[in-house]
Amino acid sequence: MMHSAKLRKMTLLANFLAIAIVLNIIESAIPIIPVPGAKLGFANIVTLIILYVYSFKDSVIITLLRVLLVAILSGKLLGVTFYMSLSGAVFATLAMGFFKQLNYFGFVGVSTIGSVFHAIGQIAAGIFVIGSTAVIAYLPIMLFLSIPAGALTGIIAQRFYTIWRSWHNEIS
């Protein structure tokens, strides 16, 4: 029984990683956001789900693997977008982990905070990449767009979690 639970977790995490990579690549192909190199962070759906389904540690590992694999797949490892993705992902994951632990907000709240930190993280990396605080000019629009993006991410993750819970209770 223990063995099958472990196996199930591994399979699920592998699937989540694949989904996150696809989401990340699709997202970088859609120019919704007017800031070069920046993303809204829809791949954070996976980070958020793993955070609730499993643990903070698992979500950190999957998120870092996702950022690394997307960079390798797009052939631009250690490029500008890689640093921005990495910084945004780290900020978002830490913020979501903290606020989930705080247990004050629900999915949507945690996700929105994560999304706001994702924007801040990317801009912070942008400042380092270009050595100028001029990038901050893009912060207000990024922060503003991150709210609906974060809320939407949260709603989807919550929906998934509810379904997953009932499914999980059935099989175990």
Partner: protein
């Protein structure tokens, strides 16, 4: 099925609404009041350097190349290329296609005191979509090239 909202959901809605109003307000204020002065100089930078490679002087109608861009010798070309008839400045960006760095073309307009990135390679060509600017910094992160404006008179600093 109208389920009663949990305490957490209420907090979530409150948080999202508050953030939306506050950050939306900041964005609108920023859009209205930041970078509004008339530009006197536009500086073009490459990489993390704070020394402008090219300065566009809107007062004296001059374009000054301060120094050559540090480009690997395999590119057989000295950058920046300044074309006074087409009003363009060409630099070598950081974005690579098949291992070759791509050029970034910046066009200036003395009359309108404006600058625009007209040609570059980046994901979705997002840098040239930033459009014409008379004060907002133009930043092309994938190419690590940026244009910042210096304004005289009433200056708005963040």
């Amino acid at each position: 099925m109208k389920a009663k909202l949990s305490v957490k959901s209420k907090r979530d809605i409150l948080l999202v609404t508050l953030l939306f109003i506050i950050l939306g307000g900041i964005y609108i204020l920023f859009r209205l009041f930041a970078f509004q002065g008339e530009a006197s100089i536009a500086n073009v930078y490459y990489g993390t350097s704070n020394e402008p490679i090219v300065s566009i002087d809107f007062i004296n109608y001059r374009v000054i190349a301060n120094y050559d861009q540090d480009v690997p010798s395999s590119y057989n070309q000295v950058y920046p290329i300044i074309d006074e008839s087409a009003n363009t400045i060409t630099l070598l960006g950081d974005y690579e296609i098949d291992g070759t760095r791509q050029i970034v073309v910046i066009q200036y307009n003395f009359g309108a005191k404006s600058v625009q990135i007209i040609q570059e390679q980046s994901p979705n060509n997002i840098c040239s979509r930033e459009g014409v600017s008379t004060g907002w910094p133009l930043i092309c992160l994938p190419n690590r090239i940026r244009v910042e404006f210096e304004t005289n008179g009433e200056d708005f600093t963040i």
